[in-house]
Symmetry: C2
Subunit: 391 residues, 2 copies
């Protein structure tokens, strides 16, 4: 469907297309439906988490131009819950007059992490020192940049994949092939993040700065704390940087801005996601308007909602247990977790669990952050998803 | 499906059946899915509001024993979002070992308003004076009870239907045929309500007492205010009565208890709904655990969640506009309403609007109740659903 004008708001019962049917798309679907929109989803897995709630799902890959076309042409507006989409196909659909938000240009910029860094650098956003790698990375290029460094592939990396930590020549065996760039290793004091929304009119709203706490043994996210436990001047500086980052990208929607606070007190941007982000899950319960509704409001050309946080919150992912392999999920400890006041459980409806697969999350609201944090630790020790028997 | 034991909790990804696919079932479905349950719905309208979000819908009437059977046997647990269900069929399904909550016995008690009154009277719950009518109501029976009185049909009345206000002999033409009873007209100061949850273990939690504000011209609910604007001792007394009412019913689930505060300061029970209730819509955004999640927790045998209210709230229904007749809904004023901080819009996805049909609701959160109330009045003047052109 072709909207009459791209400056006009998209109003329910219009249909919104979501490319990507994972948990982010699922929560976007929940909020879009609450507002009265119809929703269609494109995802390669039949019965995807979002597809289960949408009016219909088109099953196909994100680089399948025909399936992208089939989704977009049946929707008044299309958005996405992940970055790995064929931008050439998206741009062609835009040229036909279809509304895609954030735009194909913005997505292309984000997909190339070096291009993203270069764009932010041109706008004066603080980042780790970085440098292009011409062709395949060579020991000479690395030595010229100096150690320790982080090599990142330009496209397609996620959740730590496509990133190599090179502390010196002894690590050269870890070098990644293909187009990449290098950046200075940050001596990290804390990993921070902020969800920022930008409307069609350029109105911007930022949620509270949050803090990621890692389990030092497993190097896995242990929990997220909202707001971050940092000095007010650090929070203010980080929030300014995150807002400036989204402003210079000029996109429409919700953006997750990941930041590092270094041990020397510097704040730099790690990377930007052009969509709702894991670090904003807590907004579903803790804030007046969740990041998922906010994204739908923004891409539909509607006014942004209040980002006020009503309660401090801690959020932990629910991963498939590392023993027991793959199979239909079986939940242990749910009753115990629901007995914790303020513990809100999200299970994504994935048909199969695997070790460390993200199967859900729990947000715990507290009267203060420490109460929420302690309850979230208890949740972490209690809730287990293992592979059960086929039903 | 037959559960192993009715005292055992029903755990996701078990399937919950919901008889009734309206807006209450829709919000129950949203929360059940968030917890990881699968959901099936029985409703006569294909693509009902709840059916749109459920894994599947069975299309059929609530007194169609075969369709009830088809739903219940495919679910680990069945509940409902309305009272007008064939209890004989439900009881037969219970006898086969299927889990239905609240139970068929409780539903039958609630369906007969005179039976409900008699049960509450036996447990000392304050109510308006009431009396059975033998056979068809006669002028002699009414005169013996005294005027003014309210005649109510015993079964099937709702939203003011099945109720006749008889102020004296001049009103005898309004008398309702069929099984009925009479009760004393209460000189109402305020209509109040309270959502009360009761778990399988008999644990009970009550949400804040709320107040219904009526438009004196149209005799339509203008808005609901949470908490109610009453003196603390009135609120406490009303809450005690509502809790005692649900306790004496002994059911499992969420119950909406409607109360009258009389001009002389008396508090009496009007009636009880054995399900989430319109007067608890505000809990979706304003409370830590919504009435819809609470109902799912209760019927699944899981612990009840916190009923803490995070913000004062005002809720108004969105009705089909009284001009323009029936047709696909067209929303006016949505952008203006979403620009009001704290205004949360629910549109139920009904395919057709009609004058005064309930098409959605808006809950407004405020820093104080008066702020929420004033914003809700603005919403009421701004949001319009009219019949639009066929798409």
């Amino acid at each position: 469907m072709l909207p009459m004008s791209s400056s006009q708001a998209i109003i329910p019962p219009a249909r919104i297309g979501i490319i990507g049917g994972g948990q982010l798309g699922r929560m976007m679907t929940q909020k879009a439906k609450r507002l009265g929109f119809r929703v269609a989803v494109l995802d390669p897995s039949p019965g995807s988490p979002a597809g289960q709630l949408a009016d219909f799902q088109i099953t196909g890959e994100f680089d399948d131009g025909a399936r992208l076309h089939a989704l977009v042409e049946r929707c008044d507006l299309t958005t996405y819950d992940l970055e790995g989409i064929d931008v050439v196909a998206l741009r062609a659909l835009e040229k036909e007059g279809h509304l895609i938000r954030p735009s194909a240009d913005l997505l292309e910029l984000i997909q190339d992490k070096f291009g993203q860094r270069s764009h932010l650098a041109r706008h004066g956003i603080p980042q780790p020192e970085f440098r292009a790698i011409e062709g395949e990375a060579t020991p000479e290029q690395l030595a010229a940049f100096g150690y320790p460094l982080v090599q990142k592939i330009r496209r397609g990396g996620y959740d730590g994949r496509g990133v190599a930590l090179i502390r010196g020549e002894a690590d050269h065996s870890k070098l990644l092939p293909g187009p990449s760039y290098v950046e200075r290793l940050v001596d990290i004091e804390k990993e921070l993040a902020m969800i920022v929304a930008r409307s069609v009119d350029g109105d911007m709203k930022g949620y509270a700065l949050v803090e990621m706490v890692f389990d030092p043994r497993a190097n896995l996210l242990e929990m997220l704390l909202a707001p971050a436990r940092v000095a007010p001047e650090i929070a203010q500086r980080a929030e300014e940087i995150a807002m400036a980052t989204v402003e210079c990208l000029g996109g429409v929607g919700v953006f997750g801005v990941e930041l590092f606070l270094s041990k020397s007190g510097e704040i730099v941007v790690n990377e930007v996601a052009p969509r709702p982000h894991n670090s904003g899950h807590y907004t579903y319960e803790a804030c007046v308007t969740s990041q998922f509704e906010q994204h739908i409001r923004a891409v539909a050309g509607l006014p942004l909602g209040s980002v006020e946080q009503m309660r401090p919150a801690a959020m932990g992912n629910v991963l498939g247990h590392d023993e027991g392999g793959a199979g239909p999920p079986k939940l242990d400890g749910l009753a115990e977790v629901l007995a914790i006041p303020g513990a809100m459980v999200h299970i994504y409806g994935k048909a199969e669990t695997r070790p460390f697969r993200k199967m859900g999350h729990v947000t715990v609201l507290g009267q203060d952050l420490e109460e929420a944090r302690l309850k979230a630790l208890k949740v972490k020790d209690t809730l287990r998803i293992r592979a059960g028997e086929q039903r």
